[in-house]
């Protein structure tokens, strides 16, 4: 257990250094903006994959927590002006409490009903955001900017520093989630996904496992929302609208559910696609829809899953060849074991 964790941390460190060096390559702020958006949506999508890919729970209301994060953080900062790290922490706590309440009801339900009830709760919160005008600004969104007092010498009003801060949050968030899925809890969650009945027989509390995953996913999604609200300096009802969840589901599908970094790949792809399509085509839905269809009906799995399966297939083929030469099957068996473990 110890070495992979160390490897992940090193990997994260390198990723952060690369991200930190990126702005040196170009003077345009487009790249900086792009990475901040990637950080917000990437955390959001990866957290959804905790549910979808690892938990087998297709939530169609995950945008609730994204919106919740953006709004709570924005409101806390506008009303109290407390230090940013404290406000973020408080936002995560709020998200965890809401996720506990919503999850306690939802995770009992099966597949499609789970999807619907999560959707229902999301739309419930969406209408509360619209209705509660004095606090949330109604359909105009939370406007007037979010105050960003400096802390520890970090001034988030500066775009460059916000960039570094978002990149750091992204890397830390991903590392934490990576740690969760490779922990014993992560394996329990996968077991519950694959066979809840058997997991129950083995003494695992299926309900509690699912609920824990739901709360964790909600917390990380709200962190994505915090970054987004810092980026746009506000919060809008669309953050908690169903399309947000739809987009996240799409990102997860696009990038792949089996690989941990699949949703990150999906995020980058979708944002590139979005930016490209809006620049080139007038009818953005038509083009985006066609691309999704090609992906869904042609590839039938996410991009990273596809690449991994392809590599896997090549490796087993090479393995089979060398086995034939060596005349032994033991290596292949151990290879299979390894595949089951991942």
């Amino acid at each position: 257990m110890k070495r992979p964790a160390l490897r992940d941390v090193l990997f994260g460190l390198v990723a952060f250094l690369i991200l930190a060096a990126l702005p040196l390559l170009t003077t345009s702020s487009a790249l900086v903006d792009f990475v901040i958006r990637c950080a917000a949506l990437g955390l959001f999508a990866t957290s959804l994959n905790l549910l979808v890919g690892y938990g087998g729970m297709v939530s169609f209301g995950h945008g609730l927590f994204f919106g919740m994060g953006a709004y709570s953080f924005g409101i806390i900062m506008q009303r109290t002006g407390m230090p940013i790290p404290l406000a973020i922490l408080l936002t995560l706590v709020v998200a965890a409490i809401v996720a506990l309440a919503v999850g306690a009801i939802c995770v009992r339900l099966k597949e499609i009903y789970f999807a619907f009830v999560t959707l229902a709760f999301q739309m419930l919160v969406h209408s509360m955001i619209i209705a509660w005008v004095p606090v949330t600004g109604g359909d105009q969104g939370l406007r007037g900017g979010i105050p960003r007092p400096s802390f520890l010498g970090i001034n988030l009003a500066d775009q460059k520093q916000l960039y570094l801060f978002s990149a750091a949050l992204l890397v830390l968030g991903l590392l934490a989630m990576r740690h969760i899925v490779s922990s014993p809890f992560g394996y329990t969650l996968r077991m519950v996904r694959d066979n809840p009945t058997r997991a129950g027989f083995l003494g695992i509390d299926v309900y509690r496992t699912r609920l824990t995953a739901f709360v964790l996913a909600g917390v990380f999604a709200s962190l994505g929302g915090v970054i987004m609200s810092l980026f746009v300096s506000g919060a809008y009802p669309e953050f908690a609208f169903w399309t947000m969840s739809g987009e996240a589901v799409f990102i997860v599908m696009l990038g792949g559910t089996a690989a941990f970094l699949g949703p990150m790949v999906g995020t980058v792809l979708l944002l590139l696609l979005n930016d490209f399509v809006t620049r080139v085509a007038e009818h953005h839905g038509l083009v985006l829809g066609t691309v999704i269809l090609l992906f869904a009906l042609g590839l039938r799995k996410g991009l990273l899953d596809f690449v991994m399966d392809w590599r896997e297939a090549r490796r087993t083929r090479a393995q089979a060849n060398s086995d034939r030469i060596a005349g032994t099957n033991t290596i292949q068996a151990s290879d299979k074991m390894e595949r089951v473990a991942t």
Binding site: A115, M123, G289, I292, L293
Partner: protein, 300 residues
């Protein structure tokens, strides 16, 4: 929140009648869309997120035919048949590939189709709000029933939807086609072994669902404004209806639709900004109490 308005209305028959009638027309339109959804889910086990788009296409087709011919009967026919044919195309090219696939894939394909269909409507009919206008036959002064104002078109709409509901109910319970559908909902593999072409049956059920959605669009066109995104709101509401009623249950769709219609109109009085939330609340409560919906069988 405006509870005074609600209690005031509840104590006056005229207001009750007016609100209940508009609740019923919302409910009836919802029923026509929701029953298609529920049939499609019952038989094919897919959650057809594109269903609202067929309602939208029905409404736009009705407007176009009505403006070209001036006949509302033809407009309704055009809406129903057009949406039905369109449904066949969508089913044959896309839906057939996702039967039995995972939920995620189904959601994704439907999401893509909704994006495409909304944009197609935007290209053909333009992005702005359209209105069809009331057919001449219904341009008559409203009726007064127990002091409540009821436009004749509303009565026509409720009657039409009820007739369709009864025909559909009889068709499902009495005819051979209906029996086959029920059998396929229960065990498609067995039905297929018995020599029934399930592929064709699935297309038929999908087309029937689209026909009803298109018809609902045609019926709604005179009283609703038409926009490229109009399919989505009715879709979400009909999902709530099917989930409340129990997915796969036609009676459940009827009860759920009327319930949601009434919640909407009376909720609009008492909680003007919170009406939407009331529907979701109703759905959440039903699911918490009975996870398979009011008339749904326990999912296997």
């Amino acid at each position: 929140m405006d509870l005074n308005a609600l209690t005031e209305c509840l104590s006056s028959t005229s207001c009750m009648v007016t609100q209940a009638t508009s609740g019923f027309i919302i409910g009836m339109l919802l029923f026509l869309v929701a029953v298609g959804l529920t049939l499609i889910f019952g038989v094919m086990k897919i959650v057809n997120f594109t269903h609202g788009a067929f309602y939208m296409i029905g409404a736009y087709l009705a407007m176009t035919v009505f403006q070209a011919t001036g006949s509302y009967t033809l407009a309704l026919l055009g809406a129903a048949v057009g949406a039905c044919l369109f449904g066949v195309v969508v089913e044959r090219f896309f839906m057939q590939r996702i039967y039995g696939g995972n939920v995620l894939m189904q959601l994704l394909v439907c999401y893509a189709l909704v994006l495409i269909l909304d944009d197609l409507v935007r290209i053909v009919w333009g992005p702005e709000f359209k209105s069809m206008g009331m057919p001449d036959a219904f341009r008559v002064p409203p009726l007064f029933i127990m002091g409540g104002v009821v436009p004749p078109f509303y009565l026509f709409l409720i009657a039409a939807a009820l007739v369709i509901a009864v025909i559909l109910g009889l068709a499902i319970s009495r005819t051979r086609f209906g029996k086959t559908i029920r059998a396929a909902a229960h065990n498609p593999a067995m039905v297929s072994v018995l020599g029934i072409n399930t592929g064709l049956l699935f297309t038929g059920v999908f087309a029937l669902g689209c026909l009803l959605a298109g018809l609902a669009g045609g019926l709604a066109a005179p009283v609703r404004s038409l926009t490229p995104g109009m399919g989505f709101s009715i879709l979400i509401e009909s999902f709530i209806v099917t989930v409340i009623g129990g997915m796969g249950s036609i009676l459940g769709a009827l009860v759920g639709a009327v319930l949601i219609g009434l919640i909407r109109t009376f909720g609009a009085l008492g909680f003007p900004l919170f009406t939407e939330a009331l529907m979701y609340l109703a759905m959440a409560i039903v699911l918490i109490v009975k996870p398979s919906g009011l008339f749904g069988r326990e999912a296997a």
